[in-house]
Structures are given as structure tokens and as C-alpha cells.
């Protein structure tokens, strides 16, 4: 058996590099900050289709890695389903439960996932998320 490697091994040996700010990375962070300021939104993250967390603003008790994996899987299923069933490109979704609501926004960059209170203004958050998704689509076209 090969030597064990940590699961997050995408960085080659030699140490990790310090990320430089880029316009697209900045756009991701600003997008998420704007959304988590909405009333009733507890936090959120942006995850790429391969499950990489680009930016996350979740309260400490939330399991970020697990949520990111599930959000990326959910985002892909919503994307594929919309395409297979000819409903146009997937934009946003919300799923509500007894104790809260999860919102997902789809873009070429990845999926914006928000965790919100049960009584959040669904229409308001969905509209804001839709606008954010449109901005992310713009950032995909103009890196």
C-alpha cells in the first residue's frame, strides 16, 4: 500500500503557496458576504462542482466539508435534471424543513449554498440569490 496521504492532497510537496487576490476570488467573497447579511440567513458557502470550498461563512457548529460535498452533489443533480427535463439552465432552489431552509444557486463557477431560518423571506432570498448567480455567471465570462 502506498504511503497514506491526507485527503486534501491536491497541493504537491514543497509547501502550500499563499493565495493572491484575484478579481474572481474577490467577487466570490463579496457575493457571499452580501447574501449572508440578508435577514434570517445564518451562513453559507460557495463550492465548485468538484467540491472545493471557494469561500465559506458558516457558524462554527456546521460541518463545512460534509455540507460542501452534499451541496456540490445536490447542485450537480439540479443542474443535470434541469437539462435532462428541458427546464432551462438551473438557477436557484430552496428546500425547507421544520427547523430551517437551505438555498442553492447554480452557476458555471459552482454552487452558492445558504443556510437560513425556517421563517426566512423565501422570495426575498431567492431573488437576491438569483441576482448573485447572474453576477457569478458574468465573472465566469470575464476572469
Amino acid at each position: 500500500m502506498a504511503d497514506p496521504q491526507p485527503p486534501v492532497d491536491s497541493t504537491p510537496p514543497g509547501g502550500s503557496s499563499v493565495p493572491r487576490p484575484s478579481s474572481r476570488a474577490q467577487a466570490f467573497r463579496e457575493t457571499l458576504f452580501e447574501l449572508i447579511r440578508l435577514d434570517g440567513v445564518r451562513g453559507g458557502l460557495i463550492v465548485t462542482p468538484d467540491g472545493l470550498v471557494i469561500t465559506s461563512e458558516l457558524p462554527p457548529r456546521f460541518p463545512v466539508e460534509a455540507l460542501a460535498a452534499l451541496a456540490a452533489t445536490l447542485g450537480r443533480e439540479l443542474e443535470l435534471g434541469s437539462s435532462r427535463l428541458e427546464r432551462g439552465a438551473f438557477r436557484t432552489a430552496l428546500f425547507s424543513a421544520d427547523d430551517g431552509t437551505v438555498f442553492v444557486g447554480g452557476s458555471p463557477v459552482g454552487y452558492v449554498t445558504l443556510v437560513a431560518d425556517r421563517n426566512v423571506n423565501n422570495e426575498g432570498v431567492r431573488t437576491a440569490l438569483g441576482r448573485a448567480v447572474d453576477r457569478l455567471r458574468g465573472s465566469w465570462r470575464t476572469p
Binding site: 500500500m1 502506498a2 497514506p4 496521504q5 485527503p7 492532497d9 491536491s10 504537491p12 514543497g14 502550500s16 503557496s17 493572491r20 474572481r24 476570488a25 465548485t48 462542482p49 468538484d50 467540491g51 472545493l52 471557494i54 456546521f62 460541518p63 466539508e65 460534509a66 455540507l67 460542501a68 460535498a69 452534499l70 451541496a71 456540490a72 452533489t73 445536490l74 450537480r76 443533480e77 439540479l78 435534471g81 434541469s82 435532462r84 427535463l85 427546464r87 438551473f90 438557477r91 436557484t92 432552489a93 428546500f95 425547507s96 424543513a97 421544520d98 427547523d99 430551517g100 431552509t101 437551505v102 459552482g110 449554498t113 443556510v115 423565501n122 422570495e123 431567492r126 438569483g130 476572469p143
Partner: protein
Amino acid sequence: MGLATFLERTWSGITGLVRPRSAASLFRLADQYRHEGRYEDAAELITEGLRISPNIAVGHLLDAYLHVVFREMPAARASFRRVLALDPYHPRALFGLARIALEEGDIEGCRPFLDRAIQYFPDFPEAKALQEMVATWTAPAAASVSTAIGTISAERLRLPPGARDLVLTHTDGTLVFAQGGEERQKQLALHMTQVYRIASATLARAGLGALRRGVVEGASETTFLRSDGGVILGVTLAREVEVGAGLVQVGRLWTDLNIKV
């Protein structure tokens, strides 16, 4: 800045320009770009790195990740397999193949990849989350809430104008009723069930409880769903229908179908 420092930095810059970059440094920079969302720049570096050193697993892994980002799944699968050819226990490559199998609806194909990834690397929360989710799909049904569905009379249904793709399934994927041809019904039931299952796992992981309502907005239509007692009801309406109004419509259909939990 002193003259000596200035000369040293200038010399270092010049030699840096002419010195060929190693594959490792290219991959490191590519990974940094990937984290910044600079996928096109990352892709160029990975191509160059793999040209210099075609047998570095991490290069193929990064290549696979970018193919996933660009939704090029056959190419992503090939790159993940190249990683495993170089390192048969690579957890990220196993996880990547598991996710591709999952999105293709190949649950049985997905499971061994997740099991192997966790077997070699037990501290792998992403793989564990998917493993636990998939396990619930095939576990024997627990003593569930019994749900009675009356005889469905299409004439009694108060379908809103423009409504389509009405679908009622059990949460295990068994179709109860759907509009449309046989192939469409099959696709609807499959997608509805998968969305329900993955969304339920996400809500549960966030500690929010069981899924009750859902709204999925596409560019041209919006689908509203309601779930309780092991059944899922979905209907697709015009995109402009607001969340509240759409959920009222699906609630009315729930009543018309005489679903009793």
C-alpha cells in the same frame, strides 16, 4: 532599499525568467489559481506540467478537478483513473470517481469507491457524508409513517394553468402517478427522488430536520414539491410563479390527491 538588495532582487528576477519551471512548481501555482477561481490559467499550467512530468499523480488530479469544473465528465473520469494508476489508494481520486458514479445514478458503482477512500483514510468527512447518504438509500425501510393515497382521478385534480410534469412518487423512487409518456415519467420520478434524497441529506447534515417543501427554478420553469410520510409530490409551473403561490398550488394538489399521512 539598498543597492545590494536591489541588485540581488533584479538578478533573482532575471534568472527566474530564464530558469525553466519544474512540474511541481507549475502544479502548485495551478492549485493556487484553482482556489482563486482562475480555472483557465490553471488549466494551462497543468497541461504544461503534465507535458514535463506525465507521471505525477497530483497533476492528473488537478486535471480531473478542472474537467469537473468545466463539466467534462468523461475526461474527468479518465484523469481520476490516471491518478489511481499511479497511486491506487489516492482518496481524492476515489472520491472523484464516486461522485461521477453518483451523478450517473450508478449507486452500486459509487459505493466501492467511497468505501475504499474511507478504508484507507478514515478521517475524510466529505466521503463519509456521501457514504452515509447512500447507505440510507438502500437500507431496509424502517417502520415509517403509513401514507394512504386515494384513487387518483385526473379529472378531479385542480391543475393550475400551464402546469405540467405532475409527479407523485414514494421516497424510495417507486412511481405512483405522473403525467406524460413512459420515458418522461421515468425521468421525472428518478430526478425527483434523487433531489429529495440529496436535499434531505443536506438538511439533515445542517441539523434542520426533514424536507417538507422545495422550489427548483430553471431558466424557463419552476418546480414546486412537497413531501411528507414517505411520498413526494411535484409539479412544474411557469418560472414567474412566486414561491408562496406555487407552494399553495402544490398543497391544493396534495389535497386533491387525497394523500393522508
